[in-house]
């Protein structure tokens, strides 16, 4: 066990919880910052009280032996509004292009989509994922990456049951200009 000031422990826990984004076991936090369980529990309670006292937009939730950083329940309505506007906004031209690439060339990686369009696509892909127009699956060739493909719901909405029924699929999906930028 190391000696660490309580302020330092609180700061470390906040960073760990923010970056993880998900519930973290207290035992895992102990492994990382190497102080006693009591000190960590203490720091968490102090953080929780501080957040409440200054009416913070964040809260630290605790369930059994895990803690998670989340938004304050006070802001729920407001955040629902944010998510709604994010999802209901009209699809931009670039979003439609990414959608078309995923339709004709899926399953495809984000890096490949970016090579084809020459710009970063992570925000666009996220928004398409949130609207369930595309879905992602694990990449068998790269355990850290994902492959994106068109969602079945969206295909149904388009009135086809397979991407191969998209117009001119045979030709367009094999266009050599794409291979020239993604290097297949």
């Amino acid at each position: 066990m190391k000696f660490m000031e309580i302020e330092k422990i609180k700061s470390a826990i906040e960073s760990i919880l923010f970056m993880s984004g998900e519930a973290v076991e207290i035992s895992r936090i102990m492994k990382v910052i190497e102080v006693s369980k009591e000190e960590i529990e203490n720091a968490i309670i102090m953080l929780q009280n501080e957040y409440v006292a200054r009416k913070s937009g964040l809260a630290i939730l605790r369930k059994e032996d895990a803690v998670q950083m989340a938004t304050s329940p006070e802001n729920a309505t407001l955040l629902n509004q944010l998510v709604k506007s994010e999802i209901q906004e009209n699809l931009s031209k670039s979003a439609l292009e990414v959608l078309a690439i995923v339709a004709y060339r899926g399953p495809i990686t984000r890096v490949e989509i970016e090579a084809i369009r020459g710009v970063n696509c992570s925000f666009t892909l996220r928004s398409l994922l949130m609207r369930s127009l595309v879905e992602r699956i694990g990449n068998p060739k790269d355990s850290r990456g994902y492959l994106y493909k068109i969602s079945f719901d969206f295909l149904k909405k388009l009135g086809v049951d397979s991407v191969s029924k998209l117009p001119d699929f045979e030709n367009l999906s094999k266009d050599e200009r794409i291979d020239s930028v993604i290097g297949n």
């Binding site: 439609l96 996220r126 609207r131 388009l158």
Partner: protein
């Protein structure tokens, strides 16, 4: 996207110039540029492997340096407005380059410390729900995909140009000496009878002048535009 990094000793002409000036512990002024001109030219001469893309830039700076140096040597030399502006540009460019190079070093030091702020993925954990765009059909998708295809830059293959081998002055001089060794005496018209173009004739002429200068041969011409007779100089 895939980027290619190339690590040459000097990234470009300004990098080289700055190092030369700093080695001499000089400030960036017109005079210090004049001082390092010879070293700069020497560097280009000795580095045959300067990449062709960069060579033009190296040479452009070289021409400005020669301009600066000639003024340092001949103060009465009058420059045009354009030339004055070019010289001023070069010193300003170099001063700006120095600032950014120093700033980059500071940034590199900061990055080395590895004190990184991490952010997290946006809207992680928010449940998605199906919200398709209105009025979209499969032909729209085709249209957007075709638009993407048409924007992919096609790498144009440039026609390959055969680079003609040009005979150097030295080769021409050797050639000429061989002819004269066999004949002792010859005419300029004879030397150029097989010339394929003007450049060949000009190189022959220059070779002849060079040999006169080096006192290898002796030339005679009776009248203007008449054929020139070349003779090996006999040792007295």
């Amino acid at each position: 996207m895939i980027y290619q990094f190339k690590l040459e000793k000097f990234e470009g002409p300004l990098d080289l110039l700055l190092e030369l000036i700093e080695k001499e512990k000089l400030n960036i002024t017109e005079l210090s540029l004049a001082n390092v001109t010879d070293q700069y030219l020497e560097h280009i001469k000795n580095n045959a492997n300067i990449h062709l893309d960069n060579l033009a830039e190296f040479l452009s700076v070289a021409s400005k340096l020669i301009l600066i140096k000639s003024r340092a040597l001949l103060p009465m030399l009058k420059f045009t407005e354009e030339e004055e502006a070019e010289i001023k540009d070069l010193t300003e460019q170099l001063a700006a380059y120095k600032k950014f190079k120093e700033a980059a070093e500071v940034l590199g030091k900061i990055a080395e410390k590895g004190k990184i702020s991490y952010s997290r993925e946006g809207f992680s954990g928010v449940k998605s729900f199906f919200y398709p765009p209105e009025n979209i059909n499969i032909f729209d998708l085709k249209k957007y995909f075709s638009a993407v295809l048409s924007e992919i830059p096609v790498v144009e293959k440039l026609e390959e140009e055969v680079v003609r081998e040009v005979m150097t002055l030295e080769e021409k001089i050797n050639d000429l000496q061989n002819v004269l060794r066999q004949k002792v005496e010859t005419y300029f018209s004879e030397l150029t009878v097989n010339a394929t173009d003007k450049v060949d004739v000009i190189v022959s002429f220059l070779a002849m002048l060079e040999m006169v200068k080096q006192r290898i041969i002796h030339v005679e011409q009776d009248e203007l535009f008449q054929d020139i007779k070349l003779k090996v100089k006999t040792l007295n």
